[in-house]
């Protein structure tokens, strides 16, 4: 029984089929969070980009066009999010909730309007992002499955972890993002353009979450399902929190959550325990992880999330 649940493929799944979306979305959220933007629209971004990627790849038969459309869609939605929440200073949480609700309704509408199908879209022409193994590495003991027939986006996601670390800690942009997130007033005093920095962070998040959405629909699966993001945007947000807002920590948390999704699917495949209860494992683990992160078993960092407030102090109502 145990070898069925914790099979050698599990690590490969934790990085690949279950983890890639989380890594991409988690890194995306990380940039906004570190810039002091509480971007809870990740879930909606994933769904929008998954839809546009599937639609474009399905009509053009070209995965690259799909990725361009998916990322483009996520960027447009991120722009709206930025304009309304930071630009117009509407309550950032409400804007996030609005975009998440909008994503669910709009994708269903467009799916029906453009393709005349309800809920599920799997055209024959749809091209998925290529998957391949890395010769040499794929025969490593233990780590082999991580490099065996994984999607190109999975390798990119893993490479983006050190890349994000370098951007965040070794470049002027990263310094600006961190300063703005730590203390916007102080950052402004030393001449950092707070708005512009936050805008860049939101757009970086758009690209990364957009890639995550592409993986959902034109990655290993090849098709769009109504509400297929299934809470993964929220799990990514929790992973970043558990990872203390660092790229490496976020990556490790994503492996943990991706692994618990893998465990859940392995249990369902092997008929261990009631299927429905096994299905809820990743969600339960997310809540447990959040509680651990909040309780400070993981070193504490000043977190805007803990108080559930927006990045900007709420304007006092009379």
């Amino acid at each position: 029984m145990w070898h069925q649940i914790f099979n050698p493929q599990l690590l490969g799944d934790a990085v690949g089929v279950s983890g890639t979306v989380l890594i991409l979305a988690g890194l995306g959220y990380l940039f906004t969070d570190r810039a002091g933007v509480f971007n809870i629209a990740i879930e909606g971004l994933l769904l929008f980009s998954a839809f546009f990627a599937a639609a474009a790849s399905g009509t053009s038969g070209n995965a690259l066009v799909g990725v361009a459309a998916g990322v483009g869609g996520a960027l447009v939605v991120s722009l709206i999010f930025f304009l309304v929440s930071i630009g117009l200073r509407a309550d950032i949480i409400v804007v996030g909730i609005a975009i998440n609700l909008l994503a669910s309704g709009t994708t269903v509408f467009l799916l029906n309007h453009w393709f005349g199908v309800e809920g599920n879209y799997q055209p024959a022409a749809l091209q998925t992002i290529p998957a391949f193994s890395i010769p040499g590495l794929d025969s490593l003991p233990l780590l082999g499955p991580v490099f065996t027939s994984q999607s190109l986006l999975t390798y990119i996601a893993v490479l983006l972890v050190p890349a994000s670390h370098i951007v965040l800690y070794q470049t002027p942009l990263g310094l600006h993002i961190r300063s703005v997130g730590e203390n916007p007033e102080a950052a402004a005093t030393v001449g950092i353009n707070v708005r512009r920095t936050q805008f860049i962070a939101v757009m970086i998040c758009g690209v990364l979450a957009g890639l995550g959405g592409c993986f959902l629909s034109i990655g290993p699966l090849g098709g769009f399902d109504q509400n297929m993001s299934a809470g993964q945007g929220w799990i990514a947000l929790a992973a970043e929190t558990l990872g203390r807002g660092t790229p490496l920590g976020t990556f490790l948390s994503c492996l943990f959550y991706g692994g618990s999704q893998g465990v859940s699917s392995n249990m369902q495949a092997a008929n261990i325990g009631a299927g429905q209860l096994a299905q809820s494992i990743p969600y339960v683990m997310t809540v447990v992880g959040l509680a651990i992160a909040a309780k400070g078993l993981v070193a504490r960092r000043r977190r805007p999330m803990a108080t559930s407030g927006g990045s900007e102090p709420a304007p006092a109502a009379t």
Partner: protein, 368 residues
């Protein structure tokens, strides 16, 4: 979040202000929905269809026949309760997005209790199973509430995650072989609840006496928020948590309270739906996801209990209207889902405009 609540103007006495506040709460939803509908009209024109028959079906047809109008009222019943769930917690600056899960478990608990105690006379059974539904929802809301209040884990993520868990638990319970599955038919459902625990329907329609529970809940929420110490503390904690803490408000307890009361109302929403319509719990009983609809409705009503009732009926009108559009016209009825999305985006923009206006007023006051 405070700016979501309509700002009282500085002129006028308290009574006048309260009236203006109420007027705001009732008029605003109508305005927002109106603008969203105008854009929906533009989209219908873009799709090459005539928008007028569609809008006749959406706005006039539901009032023509009792069959349609009763359907509107029927749809509004669960949405009002989940709307109150979101309104009460948002008022405390706690974002309970778990109405859906709380509704599901409330419904499941009610169905279980009604079947288990089917021997009791209706006059005892009916209120008792509503109470069980409330407890089911409240217990499930207590988990994220406690985690937020005493551990510090954000309720935004935990409530969403627990929605999935709730649906998994409920579907486990009623699947073949599950503890609450009906022994009879092969369907994924509990057994049918006894007649004593069912709400009778009104005048041969789907609309049922469960609406009385809605009215009571709206009154309860209004009294809670404006006439009780806990309500005052909820509003204080939402307004300015630091000031509230310094003023002696036990903020964590208030947060937990707002979550649990909201969860109880969502649980009642599930209970009333089961008692008035399906008469058994099925996993698909919350078709349009009333828990999430409640969030939209609460925002539309600017977190005012009485506004929630108005907004819920408006929202229900869109539900029924989209059915009629699908039945009677060539227009794609999914357009209504986009209109519903636009409504919530407008609410956020409108909140912003209010805030701008307030700033201007304040600037003028300081000049004078």
């Amino acid at each position: 979040m405070n700016e979501l609540v309509a700002a009282p103007t500085e002129e006028g006495d308290a009574r006048h202000r309260r009236l203006a506040h109420l007027g705001y709460a009732i008029l605003r939803p109508v305005l927002v929905v109106g603008v969203a509908l105008l854009i929906g009209m533009a989209i219908i024109v873009y799709t090459g269809e005539n928008p007028f028959p569609a809008y006749e079906n959406l706005l006039i047809e539901p009032f023509r026949t009792w069959e349609s109008f009763s359907a509107v009222l029927f749809y509004a019943i669960p949405i009002t309760l989940t709307g109150l769930t979101a309104a009460i917690s948002f008022r405390a600056n706690v974002f309970n997005l778990g109405g859906e899960g709380q509704l599901q478990l409330g419904a499941l608990a009610t169905a279980w209790a009604a079947v288990a105690w089917s021997g009791l006379p209706g006059v005892v059974l009916l209120p008792l199973v509503i109470l069980v539904g409330a407890l089911g929802g409240a217990a499930f809301a207590a988990i994220p509430g406690w985690l937020r209040a005493y551990v510090g884990a954000t309720e935004l993520v935990s409530t969403i995650m627990l929605n999935y868990v709730a649906i998994d638990i409920a579907s486990f319970a009623v699947s073949p072989g599950g503890p609450l599955a009906s022994s009879g038919s092969a369907g994924v459902a509990t057994a049918v609840i006894p007649v004593g625990a069912q709400f009778p329907t009104i005048a041969g329609s789907q609309f049922h006496w469960g609406f009385v529970v809605d009215i009571l809940a709206v009154v309860f929420a209004f009294v809670l928020l404006y006439r009780t110490p806990l309500g005052y503390e909820i509003r204080m904690a939402g307004h300015n948590p630091n000031f509230a803490r310094l003023g002696g408000v036990p903020v964590p307890r208030v947060i937990l309270g707002a979550m649990v009361i909201g969860g109880a109302l969502a649980g009642i929403g599930g209970a009333v739906q089961v008692m008035g319509f399906q008469h058994q719990y099925t996993t698909t009983f919350s078709g349009p996801q009333w828990g999430f609809t409640g969030v939209t409705v609460a925002l539309l009503a600017r977190l005012e209990p009485i506004g929630v009732l108005v907004a819920a009926i408006l929202y229900a009108l869109l539900e029924e209207g989209s059915q009629l559009i699908a039945n009677n016209t060539n227009v794609d009825s999914h357009i209504i889902t986009v209109v519903q999305g636009l409504i919530i985006l407008f609410v956020t923009v409108q909140v912003t405009l209010d805030w701008r206006k307030k700033l201007k007023l304040r600037a003028r006051a300081s000049v004078a």
